[in-house]
Amino acid sequence: MNLIKKLIYLITALHLLLAVPAMAQQRFPKPEFESGYEQPDTITPEPRSLALEYFDVAVLLAVLALASWLALKKRSREGILWLSIFTLLYFGFYRNGCICSVGSIQNVVLSFSDVNYAISAAALLFFLLPLIFALFFGRVFCAGACPLGVIQDLVIVHPIQLPFWLRKVLGLIPYIYLALAVLYAATGTDFIICRYDPFVGIYRMDAPYTMVVLGVAFLLMGMFVGRPYCRFFCPYGVLLKWMSKFSRWHLTITPSHCIQCKLCTTSCPFDAIDYPSEEKAIVGSRAGARKFLLYAVLLPLWVGAGVFVGAKSHAYLSRANQDVYLAELMIAHPEVKDDPDNLDVQTFLSKGRTLEQLVEDARIVRKKFYTGSMIAGGFIGLVIGMTLLNQVIFRRRTDYQPNPGDCYSCGRCMDYCPVDKNTAQLKTAVPVMKKE
């Protein structure tokens, strides 16, 4: 296994070195052909054929099914690891990280908000299949089918446990990211999930240097903080978490019954194992009732504050939209029309649209932003309020068990459990533990 890991590190390091930004420019102006020569039309590469798109869907389905079987039935961490490597190669380096389920959120949102946009069946299935599997089997997509997740999973070297409060604070980022991604996609402004995908540049070996820096930073961080992007950024993870919480079947640490050996407690690099409730907490849980009431009362205030902030920030957020920005620019500085270096303005002028049309389009977009920002703000406020509320809701647990929302079903903890899955007795050889 060590050899495999070393190999993976080596390949990843090589790819990182190769992923330098490539820029090209025409060295000389185009020649002035004056003898009947016709400039050939620009050839746009054909999209991936429909059959191959469905093949990708079939591969995803197979990987999800296999991951579920490996995590729940076979209980094989090694199998999941090999599946991760396949995903890294196929969905990562071969399919260049696209289409991915994480970014498909935006396609789905845009298909609802823009009547002129039709989402492909493949994109829709990429969005739905992992969620459906999460609803039944937990986050098996994260375990072995997500190219963004597996690349981080393979670089974990020395995971450390983050403080509880830090995890909770950072855990809010995916919700904010999701809200903004939906807002920008719904207004047709930008696909920010794709724009800030830190690993797609590595898979494609072609990215602006800032994105390469981002990817490398996440991977370096991932050596000590397991899957930092998945845990503290991934907006799709929010949806998977919601589904997984209600999963019908979920990976368990022990195949039979927990013997409270605590061997698994340090096995999870993602801090996703819930411990049994302490006696003190059980006794003191009633004291939390007052706190619960307080946070419950505060919940609408959080939502209201979010709506207020959203309403106030909609103008700023809307400036990321091309039409809004151009309209503001051309009204404030009409002289930019004569600036040949302003590509945005020159592109607009070449399209033949009038300033009045632009302003009208910008007004419509800004109105959408006004509504959308308030909804996004309210959502974020709700999440903050619910996160606080969750801290005082007492849940009785008697065993060590994976948190159904946070667990990536990677199967690491299973190897630490000394209970044999066939006999339900202790294994003869117990893994040697290295205590943090």
Partner: protein, 319 residues
């Protein structure tokens, strides 16, 4: 690694991640984007070190034509074409002859008592009084005669439209033609992306043809066999730039080349071997993105630049 070191390392990485995302979001917006990375930046090419400029402009002669196209010099007379005219002026600028022509001339050459002018699919032949004595029209529809040079009884024409060189007899019969190709694929042929295709004969009777697409000057026998060539592809002042240069060339006494480039207009001197000598006229002397001037020389080594943008003949002499 100690835990504290790991925390510091993680903190630094977190800062990097935040800075990258925030910076990108704040700067990479419409109108706030960095300057076009694909912009064809020409400013650097317009600068010429002063020590490289070997000539100075001593005079210029204002022409009474709007669209100057060609120039040649014989003795104390300059033959200049433009609009639909041929004008002959003395070196003092006095007009000696102004002839209206049936077609717009593109180039001019003088030999004996004949003046030859190339045009769109035709060549006009005038006597020294300006009378049209012949007009050769046995060209293809796509022909564009952009250069003429005469050596004894051989009149060489450069056809930019068909990328060929013709050799004519004085009676107007075509004796030979060649495309600069060979059967063994060693030679590509003339690459002429624009209407700039020049040829010339030096004082030793060597025929040189510009191959502008290859940034080369090629020496041919009169039957079209390549004898030698030189090329100068540098991005600095020593080389030829752009799609198709040199656009024009002429010979100094002794065989040195004077070349004129389009795009970033500049006139330079090269040795017969192709070794760069220096600059005759730097780009600063011309209008940016102006029309390319034709050039000629005289026996004293003066360089005459037929500047269409300033509608004048500009005379350069060695410093």
């Amino acid at each position: 690694m100690k835990k504290q070191g790991i925390y510091i390392f993680l903190f630094v990485l977190m800062v990097v991640i935040v800075v990258v995302i925030v910076t990108d979001f704040a700067t990479n917006k419409p109108g706030k984007r960095p300057s076009n990375p694909f912009e064809y930046e020409m400013d650097g090419f317009h600068e010429t070190p002063e020590e490289e400029i070997l000539y100075k402009e001593t005079r210029n002669l204002k022409m009474k034509m709007v669209q100057l196209t060609g120039i040649t010099c014989r003795g104390e007379e300059l033959f200049v074409t433009g609009d639909r005219n041929l004008q002959v002026i003395g070196l003092d600028g006095r007009m000696k002859l102004d002839v209206a022509l049936p077609e717009e001339p593109l180039c001019v050459a003088v030999s004996g008592d004949r003046i030859y002018m190339g045009a769109l699919a035709s060549v006009m032949v005038l006597d020294m009084e300006g009378n049209l004595v012949a007009q050769w029209k046995d060209f293809e529809e796509t022909s564009l005669i952009t250069s003429i040079a005469v050596y004894e009884n051989n009149i060489f024409l450069a056809d930019a439209g068909r990328r060929r060189v013709y050799r004519y007899q004085p009676d107007g019969t075509r004796a030979a033609e060649f495309e600069g190709k060979s059967t063994d694929d060693v030679l590509h042929g003339f690459i002429v992306p624009s209407a700039c295709f020049d040829l010339g004969l030096n004082e030793f009777g060597d025929l040189w043809v510009a191959n502008p697409g290859k940034h080369a000057l090629e020496n041919y026998t009169f039957d079209g066999n390549l004898r030698g060539f030189w090329t100068s592809v540098f991005s600095d002042v020593k080389g030829f730039q752009g799609c198709c240069n040199p656009a024009h060339f002429a010979f100094l006494p002794g065989g040195n080349f004077i070349t004129c480039e389009k795009g970033v207009i500049r006139v330079k001197e090269y040795k017969p071997s192709g070794e760069y000598v220096g600059v005759v006229a730097a780009p600063a002397k011309f209008i940016e993105e102006g029309k390319v001037p034709d050039i000629t020389t005289d026996a004293q080594g003066r360089v005459y630049v037929c500047d269409p943008d300033k509608q004048s003949i500009r005379i350069f002499e060695k410093k």
